[in-house]
Subunit: 226 residues, 2 copies
């Protein structure tokens, strides 16, 4: 299998939160793959064959699948003998929406200037123009005001802190889709930003420690891109 | 079975969102029960036997169970032959936290002055004092500023609008725990307030219509307390 992924100036560290969902699912299932690391401005041409414009894209023999959710659903169907990441398919699908606007969106606004610092020089012009257009402000203005989106992120993370006070994983005795989806978001931040997203004694920190060790520690090995 | 519940000045209309979770679960399972309707200031003495201070309390023969989550878990265990409300126990437990701070809390601040209007006269002094102390403002001040918590509620409801654009229920082909827990919150508002919580063309409105018809229409029959 080949997984097309996004990297910064260090080609060995992928940082897309959506690619990380797939990587965790592949590890959960014990499926081997190689990655095709791409810079932002290489993606469009590189994945045109998959009739899409973004990563992740998975090529598995003759099968080409785009979109992290579609890829994970494909893996569930194509490899029914492997451990499933879903404890409940509907709850997993709902979870995508439960974290997109409340957590991913404010975290994006919190770390977007930091992401700019770790991407390849060839991407900088594209990244600045597209993100500044999307957010209606310069990266420098956003960098000055990061406390506001960070406080929204922190507030929306609180239900998870409450949950992890007593529970180990969102999917039961071991990690599953919801754990991987939320954890992938923290790997995105870890690879790109030094900002502190939660206190050391937050139950979320304990859960992240557990996640760092699962699936052979592939997430725990992620360092900030230099 | 006996279910101790909270009512306003109309004793026939229960409005506690936590009692409604249990009522929907009982209906889902086809279990018969009678209710013990209580005003706020009657609850403490009436449920002291259950070693708690709030409703719902369920009495099932020799078994006495307090707290909506505990009651529903009890029903699952005590009546394993009845349809389960859980498609995934862990996702259901997480859902309690996912809606408590983001949705129930701002909705409470939105409708608390309306609740005051529909409770029994005997409760008014207690309700005003306890709620004003909790919120740090008078009910009249809160009533003037309801747009702020309502806008938080609306923003936090958006993931569900997105989900229900394509999906019928949160628990799969039919309603389950997550559907009942969120729906119970809307019944709380319907019984106590005229405030508009979503647009008519919001996918949440379609889901509520479906919920109004499930379980013999017990939720659909709820009207605002006069």
């Amino acid at each position: 299998m080949k997984l097309y992924e996004l990297v910064g100036r260090d080609k060995s560290i992928g940082f897309s939160p959506f690619v990380w969902r797939v990587k965790m699912a592949l590890a959960h299932k014990g499926l081997a793959y190689e990655t095709v690391p791409l810079h932002f401005t290489e993606i469009k041409d590189a994945v045109a064959f998959a009739d899409c414009k973004s990563v992740p894209v998975l090529v598995d023999g003759d099968n080409v699948v785009a979109d992290s959710w579609e890829i994970i659903c494909y893996l569930e169907e194509a490899y029914p003998d492997r451990p499933s990441v879903f404890s409940d398919h509907h709850a997993a699908k709902l979870f995508n929406f439960q974290i997109a606007l409340p957590l991913l969106a404010p975290l994006f606004r919190t770390i977007v200037p930091d992401i700019f610092e770790v991407i390849h020089d060839m991407d900088k012009d594209y990244f600045r123009k597209s993100r500044e257009a999307r957010l209606g402000r310069t990266l420098e203005e956003i960098a000055e005001d990061y406390e506001e989106p960070l406080s929204i992120f922190e507030a929306n993370l609180m239900p998870y802190s409450q949950f992890f006070k007593r529970e180990q994983y969102m999917c039961g005795a071991g990690p599953g889709y919801q754990d991987y989806a939320l954890y992938a978001m923290f790997l995105w931040a870890r690879a790109t930003s030094d900002k502190k997203l939660f206190e050391d004694d937050d139950p979320v920190a304990d859960w992240i420690n557990r996640m760092d060790q699962c699936c052979g520690g592939i997430g725990g090995a992620v360092k900030k891109i230099k």
